[in-house]
Symmetry: C2
Subunit: 353 residues, 2 copies
């Protein structure tokens, strides 16, 4: 008989229709789990080490989700998300006990992953960088920044680049990619501390606190007197509308996310789309899943840049799964600085990186 151990889990109790300002729709519950997978099940049992707080998760907490790629989470079930995990037991030949992996897992201490979840697992080969990076700069956030900037924006040296949500998990990386390419880069964020971080640590040429600007159009005209060639949009809404007035001819807009809108009953109306015509602008939405086939190429590019300290990476960690729901809610009010990560086993020092 296999050992039964405690398995703390985050369950979705209720959908969030309006605001997502507190964790009341989620519940942290104790369960138990056997640390063995059944033979012939094809499953992999993992211990989750780090969990990722990603904006899209809020979309899945709405009863309708956001079809077709973000269906609603089932109620009364453990929510899913990206994580870094260690294999505890495996009935799949390609995974062995002790392997470190990252991919789609569940918000609980231990998860039994079955097809198709197992298909999304990547084995972690390089452990000389912090393991949590694999749900950030070396995982979906990094690949999002990489695809959304290089593939969607077609950047050229010397161009004027604006990144909103610039101190978030994707924005902080996009800004640094743009600097490495020789662009002039300005970021917006929601606090003085974040603005300082962008300018002093992450190498942005300039940064501003959008909450201190009454008129975003004027602010952008002040920061970009020549206009914007590339806008990497993480926020949507009013900021996107103001940017449309400040784009340069043949500009490109990469729509990565609209975090300012997800908590609204109705999205804000954008009135400046005519600019897309007179400025001949290409605006494109993208979803990182489409770029997974490029992951190993991406890793070959970014891993050395991290090792050589050419790219910095800022994380905001909370300790303990029980603090995960509040951390997830916090990213919608901008509580986090850098990528929000949940360290699910802070009590095991040897697992920390």
């Amino acid at each position: 008989m296999a050992t039964q151990v405690r398995n703390e889990q985050v369950i979705l109790k209720n959908y969030y229709k309006g605001g997502f300002t507190n964790e009341s729709g989620m519940e942290v519950k104790e369960s138990t789990i056997s640390l063995k997978v059944a033979e012939g099940s094809g499953a992999v049992l993992v211990k989750n080490l780090y969990l990722s707080c990603d904006p899209y998760m809020r979309l899945r907490m709405h009863p309708l989700g956001e079809p077709p790629f973000f269906p609603p989470y089932p109620l009364s079930s453990v929510i899913t998300g990206y994580g870094v995990s260690r294999v505890v037991d495996s009935d799949k030949p390609q995974f062995n006990k002790g392997d470190l992996v990252w991919g789609l897992t569940r918000w609980e201490e231990y998860s039994i992953l079955k097809d198709p979840e197992v298909q999304t697992l990547f084995k972690i080969e390089h452990t000389d960088v912090p393991l949590s990076y694999y749900i950030g700069i070396l995982g979906m956030s990094g690949l999002t920044a990489y695809a959304g900037f290089y593939e969607v924006c077609s950047p050229k040296k010397g161009e004027y680049v604006f990144v909103s949500g610039a101190s978030g998990s994707v924005g902080e990386i996009v800004g640094q990619f743009a600097k490495l390419m020789g662009c002039y880069v300005i970021g917006s964020a929601g606090s003085k501390e974040k603005v300082e971080l962008l300018k002093n640590k992450l190498g942005f040429d300039e940064a501003f606190n959008y909450k201190e600007e009454h008129d975003l159009d004027s602010a952008l005209k002040r920061y970009f007197p020549e206009g914007i060639d590339i806008y990497f949009d993480n926020v949507g809404g009013k900021m996107l509308d103001a940017v449309l007035l400040n784009m340069r001819v043949y500009g490109r807009i990469s729509l990565c996310g609209m975090i300012s809108q997800y908590n609204l009953e109705q999205h804000e109306g954008l009135r400046n789309l005519f600019s897309l015509i007179v400025k001949r602008i290409r605006m494109k939405g993208f979803v990182v899943f489409d770029y997974l086939p490029q992951y190993s190429k991406f890793l070959d590019v970014v891993l050395p840049q991290i090792r050589e300290d050419k790219i910095k990476y800022v994380e905001d960690r909370v300790e303990g799964l029980e603090n995960g729901p509040a951390a997830l809610v916090g990213i919608y009010s901008g509580r986090n600085i850098g990528k929000q990560v949940v360290n699910t086993c802070p009590i095991t020092p040897k697992m920390r990186h």
Copy 2:
């Protein structure tokens, strides 16, 4: 001493800030002109035969214009526009008396064109088709449809195509290009008569009157149960917003114009841009001027299609320059069926085509 002749002209008296519902801001005035160009002036004197009524002209009748490409017309001056003309006298070696040309001219009977206007003139080589076609299907309207469909939309056989403003000068051609490519094509227009035209004469698979639809989203779901791959947008506003909810994954939207918005003090707000992300849609604005270098290639493709009757072309002509202002105003309320053209010398039967 050269002959002085009457020269009727359309002058912009006042800018239109709000609505553009009547011709009161324009004035038809008589002037005189000498039918000789001064030696050494480098000018070309033309008799204007057909003038084109194009949506962008309204933008130039606003005191701010629409920078950077549509500056306001100067007040108290003759308005400019595309036309088909015959050369009466020339101080440019590349143009001779009697040549037929099309390009940017002025709303008057005779125009003296100097650099840079002369640079925009194309000599008309093929006169076996109606001359007025050179301000329509064989001019900017055709090139707009060609570039906006083939270059901006990257169409593929079998795709679902939606064209708004489908009985307008560009829309009627886009729909037929799409049919020739093997797409399934539906157009929207503003009257029963236009809808019949689209279905019975222009070969659209289906068409509907948007004015009879209370809920554009439902209408689109009814007409496109599988969704829309390509949207060619001539109208903007509510229609564009409804289309965003009905696009298919990897869809493309070509923004050609937003005629529904030009008369509004403030453009309508679009709330469905998040669809661009989840559906990975590329939306691109374009201006036909960028594609002028492709004009002769375009002509090689389209001229045979017209001769072989593979493409039909519907014009709405008014006779006489004095009726030009009302015709121009009419395109904003959808008075015209097909391309609105002004025949400026209807009294000379041999000039008629």
